[in-house]
């Protein structure tokens, strides 16, 4: 497995002049900060975290927003007299130069356009062949030392010094688009275990975002690409969970966690793109669904540690999105989750969730099931054991799974006089099921998947 990003990494930006006086860089802040004596209990000066304004895959090339190249300003000709125009122009140019200097720390190089025609730059391809550093998908006929332009995909590189980067190493927009499509096609078409596929696509899409960011491509064209990348991460969210029991479970659960982190970053960038490219305060076609995903991922506000609290997040969602069907669904689910209305929680998901929405909120389904079992066990009349069949409808689970779930909660099931399975209430030993205890299905899932296939075929 490739080396993962440190959870608390500070952004590096080697392009910045280390003696810059501007404070807009978080890393240069460290060097130029005044350090008073006698600090109690550690540094009183706060450390800013990276702000994912535009996700660049966390490379040195990014982690910070960049302005687009400034348009040339027309000369302001103020003086009526012709003879002073030359001097005035020079002075104004000087001022503009000073402005540019002032702004140099807020600004990066003007937009570049990459020229690499393949999914992977030629140099990197040769180097990785030599070092035998080829992923299984990149190997020509399985040869660990040979690849081809059709198979090799540029890796994400954290420590790129953008001063040294060649234009021939950066893939232009069209190449990035076809690279992404190729990667997405791997999702369902290889025999490799899912974690391997996920790992590969995770890294290579990060590199795509890095290239996009270096070329400062922030217009509409990129939106669909980011949406596809969100699809990948959300689907992984679901598929990795399915595989997170068994001998590999520790590895996979850390994959899951990192996936969630990255998903949050990509979503945030996507939302910035929506905002930046909005005309006439309308919404983009898929925006309501993609916005709703954030709500569903954050039902429990602690789940995204750096994530914005939903209360704050909603403030900046445009009104048409708030009123959309997808967001209305997400908000109702949020309400049912927060008030503990398990009855409506499940029935609404079954009736209205899209596949992506289902994947996003899947981790909460078992939590709410546990809550339901807890409430029923605690509040139910001792002489009226709760019918498993009923529970199965309520919680959208197969009866056999209900039984096993109750057991995972430390509760026993039994049979009533008619031979029906029941859950006796007021059992004292309830406990929340441990993580990775098992995977339960969702009774409405086939319908949800059918809906997704229908969408994809359109």
């Amino acid at each position: 497995m490739e080396r993962r990003q440190n959870h608390h990494q500070q952004p590096q930006n080697p392009r910045r002049n280390p003696s810059s006086s501007s404070s807009s860089s978080q890393s240069s802040n460290h060097r130029s900060r005044y350090r008073p004596p006698n600090r109690a209990g550690g540094d009183a000066r706060p450390h800013s975290r990276e702000d994912p304004y535009l996700d660049s895959g966390d490379a040195a090339a990014g982690g910070r927003p960049r302005s687009l190249a400034r348009p040339m300003r027309a000369h302001a000709s103020e003086a009526a007299a012709g003879s002073s125009i030359g001097v005035r122009e020079r002075q104004e140019q000087h001022r503009r130069d000073q402005d540019r200097e002032d702004d140099r720390d807020c600004r990066e190089l003007a937009s570049v356009v990459g020229t690499c025609p393949h999914m992977c730059p030629v140099g990197e391809m040769a180097q990785r062949e030599r070092l035998r550093n080829l992923a299984v998908f990149e190997r020509l006929h399985g040869n660990p030392a040979k690849t081809s332009p059709e198979l090799a995909v540029k890796k994400f590189c954290r420590t790129i010094s953008t001063r040294d980067v060649q234009l021939s190493d950066i893939r232009p927009f069209s190449v990035l688009g076809s690279t992404l499509d190729y990667l997405m096609s791997l999702m369902n078409s290889t025999p490799e275990p899912f974690e391997t596929v996920h790992d590969f696509i995770f890294d290579r899409t990060r590199s795509i975002r890095q290239d996009l960011s270096m070329q400062n491509i922030v217009d509409k064209r990129v939106i669909h690409m980011y949406e596809k990348m969100v699809n990948f991460h959300v689907t992984s969210h679901h598929k990795l969970r399915l595989r997170s029991s068994g001998p590999d479970s520790f590895n996979i659960s850390s994959l899951h966690h990192l996936n969630m982190e990255q998903l949050a970053k990509v979503l945030t960038s996507l939302y910035n793109l929506y905002d930046l490219n909005r005309d006439h305060s309308s919404t983009h076609k898929n925006e309501p669904e993609y916005r709703s995903l954030y709500v569903l991922l954050c039902l429990n506000s602690e789940s995204l540690p750096e994530g914005e609290r939903l209360s704050l997040w909603f403030r900046r969602v445009p009104t048409p999105v708030i009123k959309s069907k997808e967001m209305s669904f997400a908000r109702r689910i949020l309400r049912y989750f927060r008030t503990g209305n398990y009855s409506r929680f499940f029935s609404t998901i079954a009736a209205e969730a899209s596949y992506l929405q289902y994947c996003a909120l899947e981790p909460y389904i078992d939590k709410v099931r546990a809550l339901a079992v807890l409430c029923i066990n605690n509040g139910g009349y001792k002489l009226h054991p709760y019918p498993i069949a009923h529970l199965s409808n309520l919680l959208m689970m197969e009866e056999s799974e209900v039984e096993s779930f109750c057991n995972a909660c430390g509760l026993e099931t039994s049979l009533d006089e008619q031979g029906n399975k029941v859950l006796p209430t007021k059992q004292p030993a309830f406990e929340h099921p441990k993580a990775g205890y098992g995977k339960y299905g969702f009774s409405g899932l086939e319908n949800i998947c059918r809906g997704r296939e229908a969408e994809e075929n359109v």
Partner: protein, 414 residues
């Protein structure tokens, strides 16, 4: 307008400003220094200075003409550029120039032993934020990525660092903190508040009581709001109540702002405001919600939330208010119980689920048996109701003792 300005007059204005600046610093006269830095005040003298600068275009020469002024060249030159850009409505270029000037200023500030220039520093901190906000608006309007406010945040962090030491300057740290809060709230990067809060509250050099009252109130207001967003209602109550108690009683706008967040908090812990309070401070958006809680009227709660949805979402209290639903259910069931008690005291503690369904139907709310049972189970779980439910007989059996415990100032159990 430049056309009516002579070169000589331009000259004079600039030199005049330079003199005032250097005199203010030399005599440590902060009252005279402040207005020279206060760009957004758009004072006539700054406006006329900017016109002069735009005409002359070569102010650097004037700055360098005397040692008195040239010692402050690092501050003054970018400040002049800023003024020029500002006057030409070019905020995107004005901001970085001001930041450069401000940066040079704080280098000087660090060298001054006493805290005489603290109020000038406040002006700078304020201007940095306000200029950056306007620059970002300009960027967004032109389809570019807004980034100046984020830079302002970094800069203010630096200023905080300068003030965070032993010595008289440290009382300024809270003002800068509050500016930072405003920046982070505006950007939505509220998690960045955490570290500066930690500094204020745990570093030994700071004694909270030493800070100016006005800053303490603002600080408690913002940290109180953070607690609201994090749904720590007890802490939120504490902080917002502090802000309310110490706020200037004549400052109605500020009181209103505090109440806007305090009321949902109080509601969540079972304390209802009086109607006159809501009217007095124009917070009538909460009136129906209070009514709904008093009457157990779920329909009223939902319609009130819908009516003011936009406002509540923007202020960030919507989710808090939505959760009051459980308390409304509690009130509704309590009313049913009271009615039953009047009709048949011995049987009152048994409530058929059908009766609850009927009551909800009167409120035009459709709920099936499953959902009612679910609500009942949840109310019991959260200790809003004491008793148990019998699934087969579709009945809730309430405890004979205190079946509907009051919240008494504590939030509903998670």
């Amino acid at each position: 307008m430049a056309a009516y300005l002579s070169m000589g007059e331009a000259h004079r204005r600039i030199t005049d400003y330079l003199a005032r600046f250097s005199d203010a610093v030399a005599s440590q006269d902060v009252a005279s220094l402040k207005p020279l830095l206060s760009l957004s005040s758009a004072s006539p003298s700054l406006v006329s200075l900017a016109d002069a600068l735009n005409l002359l275009q070569d102010s650097n020469r004037l700055i360098k003409q005397s040692d008195r002024y040239s010692q402050f060249a690092e501050i003054l030159a970018p400040l002049f550029r800023c003024l020029q850009n500002y006057r030409l409505h070019n905020l995107v270029d004005a901001y970085p120039a001001y930041e450069k000037a401000a940066n040079a200023f704080i280098q000087e500030f660090r060298n001054w032993d006493s805290a005489w220039a603290l109020e000038a520093l406040y002006v700078i901190a304020y201007e940095i934020r306000v200029l950056a906000e306007r620059a970002d608006r300009e960027l967004s309007a032109n389809g570019k990525m807004p980034e100046k406010l984020k830079a302002a945040g970094s800069f203010l962090m630096k200023v905080f660092g300068v003030l965070a030491g032993k010595g008289p300057k440290r009382v300024g740290a809270l003002y800068v903190t509050c500016q930072l809060f405003k920046v982070y709230f505006k950007l939505g990067t509220v998690h960045l508040c955490r570290s500066v809060i930690r500094s204020i509250e745990t570093a030994r050099i700071f004694d909270f009581e030493e800070f100016p009252q006005r800053d303490k109130v603002t600080y408690m207001y913002y940290t109180g709001r953070l607690e609201v967003y994090n749904e720590n209602f007890t802490a939120a109550d504490q902080k917002l109540s502090y802000a309310l108690a110490h706020c200037n009683p004549h400052s109605e706008a500020n009181i209103r702002m505090i109440l806007k967040y305090l009321i949902p908090v109080k509601l969540s812990i079972g304390i209802l405001p009086k109607d006159w309070l809501l009217e007095r401070y124009n917070l009538v958006e909460y009136s129906n919600i209070v009514q709904a809680l008093k009457r157990g009227d779920l329909r009223l709660l939902r319609s009130a939330l819908e009516e003011h949805e936009d406002r509540f979402l923007r202020s960030g209290v919507y989710l808090v208010l939505e959760k009051l639903e459980l308390q409304v259910y509690q009130r509704l069931l309590k009313k049913i119980y009271i009615i039953q008690k009047q009709k048949e005291p011995t049987k009152a503690h048994q409530m058929k689920l059908e009766v609850i369904i009927k009551a909800l139907k009167w409120l035009e709310i459709d709920m099936d048996l499953d959902e009612v049972e679910c609500i009942v189970a949840i109310l019991i779980h959260k200790n809003l109701m004491k008793g148990y439910f019998a699934h087969k007989s579709k009945v809730v059996v309430l405890s004979k003792q205190d079946p509907f415990p009051k919240l008494t100032g504590k939030p509903v159990n998670a």
